[in-house]
């Protein structure tokens, strides 16, 4: 059974069996506008919470996406290389960014659930 968490930086995490799939929320993709490039992370890279994991580039600007928790990258969404607009059209689905193996599941407790996130973005 997967649990979904949200961060104040407008990311979502779907956690199943110690692995989190991470993406940005629909709210975030709307703020960014049309994406034209996603700089994906290397597999095997170890990230601490707050490290830049991915850079998403819109027509106008580049924005960092941070690791919401500690862990190791085990997969990147390579379909974004040819179609970065998947993040716009399916932010919480096919537009996921990376998968990471969690090294500190306790960090999940400080994240928001969907109701709290909805309240956060107003």
């Amino acid at each position: 059974m997967a649990n979904t968490y949200f961060t104040e930086d407008h990311e979502w995490l779907r956690v199943e069996g110690g692995v989190a799939t991470v993406g940005i929320t629909d709210y975030a993709q709307e703020q960014l506008g049309d994406l034209v490039f996603v700089e994906l992370p290397e597999i095997g890279r170890k990230l601490a919470k707050g490290d830049t994991a991915v850079v998403v580039e819109s027509v106008k600007a580049a924005s960092d996406v941070y690791a919401p928790v500690d862990g190791e990258i085990i997969e990147a969404n390579t379909s974004l290389s040819s179609d970065p607009s998947l993040v716009n059209s399916a932010a919480s689905g096919d537009g996921w960014l990376w998968k990471m193996k969690l090294s500190n599941t306790g960090q999940l407790d400080s994240l928001m659930d969907e109701a709290a996130y909805k309240a956060h973005i107003g």
Partner: protein, 366 residues
């Protein structure tokens, strides 16, 4: 996001109603995008007609017996040689021939000219013109207008349907079709189009009529930037600055030969000596390899790893389908086809020097 000093467009309510997302630019709160998004807005402009609120830009009327003489002092220009209704792209230079602003001057009458200047420099430009005007029998009057641009292949037809005939007006010409209106066939997208300064009440009426036409959509500042970049047009503050001269910027086409030789404009001596020794750097188009955009301030290096220049504007070109950029490189590296690298967050992205524009201009010249 926006402070107390932020200026607001007279038609801001219309943009809110259209669902615009706002951002700060040159001291103004400006619509950046509408719900369609920058990509669709950009393409819509190239295919049909985009409506832009550019009221952040400033119109000045310069009039009086010495109006042409004042402009010839302020700009590398022969204002007296302009035909009535002819427009000319020109510059304000400092004593070192650095570009204070780029602007368009249109002759409205024997002793009357319209000057259209950039938002970011409007205050400085006005001071500059007023200070110079003290030596001339000429008046500089900033006009209180809403300023709209309608750009794209359907712009003329949409205006015609809205009751404004543009038939005989050609590219880089401007007229006063109604009282307190100024309309020129010009723009910042590379497309055929018009820029219209008019009183607010008239503007509300015109906007309402134009938006009834399905060919016309509001277009935000984000697409305005990607359109002008594809068209190879400069943004002052980025591609042009007071530290850059017209020879380096590749804008000598805007300065007639006689004016270069004998003009008494501010910066004339400095410009002549720059031309004698040749500019050390030049503005060029840059086409990055692949899909990753290369943006302003990225450093450029040559194939040997030596500093080559820097990027001044960069982003993604929705019409070209690839990233587009421009910047300044050492003159020896300015030839189209030269391979350089841009440093983007430590990664070296290959970029090729290319001629501008990226998207062919489609002006209505005759």
């Amino acid at each position: 996001m926006t402070g107390e000093d932020t200026k607001h467009l007279p038609l801001e309510g219309l943009h809110h109603a259209a669902g615009a997302r706002f951002g700060a630019f040159a001291g103004w709160s400006m619509p950046l995008t509408y719900p369609a998004g920058v990509m669709k807005e950009h393409l819509h402009t190239r295919e049909h007609a985009g409506l832009f609120d550019i009221s952040h830009m400033k119109l000045f009327e310069v009039s009086g017996p010495d109006a042409a003489a004042l402009l010839n002092r302020a700009c590398p220009l022969d204002a007296g040689a302009l035909e009535i209704s002819q427009s000319k792209y020109t510059l304000f230079l400092n004593e070192a021939a650095g570009i204070i602003d780029d602007l368009i001057v249109t002759r409205l009458g024997d002793n009357r000219f319209m000057v259209v200047a950039n938002a970011g420099n409007a205050v400085e430009d006005e001071k500059h013109l007023h200070a110079l005007a003290a030596d001339f029998d000429a008046r500089v009057e900033p006009l209180d207008r809403v300023f709209l641009a309608i750009q794209g292949p359907d712009a003329w037809a949409a205006l015609a349907r809205a009751g404004i005939e543009t038939g005989s007006l050609l590219f880089m010409h401007g007229i006063e079709p109604r009282q307190n209106w100024f309309m020129s066939r010009s723009g910042y997208t590379g497309e055929d189009g018009f820029e219209i300064g008019l009183p607010e009440a008239d503007a509300r009426d015109l906007v309402a009529k134009l938006l009834q036409d399905e060919r016309v959509q509001w277009i935000g500042l984000a697409a305005r930037d990607s359109l002008r970049l594809e068209a190879g047009l400069c943004l002052h503050g980025h591609d042009l600055t007071p530290e850059i001269d017209p020879a380096s910027a590749g804008l000598m086409w805007a300065i007639p030969k006689e004016v270069r030789a004998s003009g008494h404009f501010i910066g004339a001596d400095a410009l002549r000596s720059i031309l004698e020794r040749g500019p050390s750097q030049k503005r060029v188009g840059l086409k990055p390899d692949g899909r990753q955009p290369v943006r302003a301030d990225a450093a450029l290096i040559d194939t040997d790893g030596n500093p080559a220049g820097h990027v001044t504007s960069g982003g993604f070109g929705p019409s070209t389908g690839h990233p587009v950029a421009m910047g300044y490189v050492n003159t020896a590296l300015a030839k189209p086809g030269t391979r350089l690298f841009a440093d983007v967050r430590g990664t070296k992205i290959p970029v090729d020097v290319t001629s501008l524009p990226f998207t062919p201009h489609r002006y209505r010249k005759g």
